[in-house]
Symmetry: C2
Subunit: 127 residues, 2 copies
DNA sequence: CCGCATCCAAGCCGATACTG
DNA sequence: CAGTATCGGCTTGGATGCGG
């Protein structure tokens, strides 16, 4: 595999960029990463996710799951029962995302104090 | 170091979350990752960055650099000359970000086709 | 040359009400 | 239970003009 140049991959205009910006947008949006982390341990129902994410609206849970399904990161299985039952699970593609996301999370955890200190210093200097 | 739980780290409300959400927001915004990638090879001047990022406005380059400086990822050095000269460089903290970001970029590059195919399938099924 | 200030457009997100 | 529809606010980002 050719080693990608991060610079090219981050551009929105570049033809060689592929869809890296789309991934960064998904990573950066408000709920996607939390939903993915909740699906790590196995399939979950819509209502189960909702009750485990305080503060999310029905609309945003629906929208987030639809986007993740469109991107191929999450699978949606609806059972034709009454009452209806729908299960969401990480796809095999979604599984592979766990590693780079985990790396980012570990980084953020490791340097969170340094990060916060820098912000405090910056805000202090301007107050 | 304690292994962080991604789930907790992604929540906005959790006390234990630290500032992982802040990092994801920065990673996800429109220009930050591109600016960081341009600073990988050494310090750059404001104008040099501007001319190398087609489509960015002066305002957004300034705002992006300020946010990165506040987060401690980028350092800003201004030389008291006329005309003024300002150089931006990756801080040591910013250097450490290259690895997890690179992992994400490699992931996106590796699976970009699968990703695009999934979107096409999804959109097709609804058209 | 390097930015800040202002105004404005677009998109993300939340609240609420309603449906199979 | 698992959504859809609509509205409205808030934040992000773009265009332009001015200042050190």
């Amino acid at each position: 595999m050719i080693e990608p140049d991060i610079e090219q991959l981050c551009r929105r205009d570049s033809e060689t960029a592929g869809h890296v910006r789309d991934i960064l947008d998904r990573v950066g949006d408000k709920w996607s990463m939390l939903v993915i982390s909740l699906l790590e341990h196995g399939p979950r129902r819509y209502g189960s996710l909702a009750s485990d994410i305080p503060g999310i609206s029905q609309r945003m849970l629906t929208v987030t799951l639809q986007r993740l399904e469109r991107d191929g990161l999450v699978t949606r299985t609806s059972f034709p029962e009454i009452p209806p039952r729908v299960e969401y699970a990480l796809s095999s593609l979604g599984e592979t995302l766990k590693e780079p996301i985990g790396a980012l999370a570990r980084w953020a955890y490791q340097y969170k104090d340094e990060f916060a200190a820098s912000r405090d210093r910056y805000d202090e200097a301007r107050a």
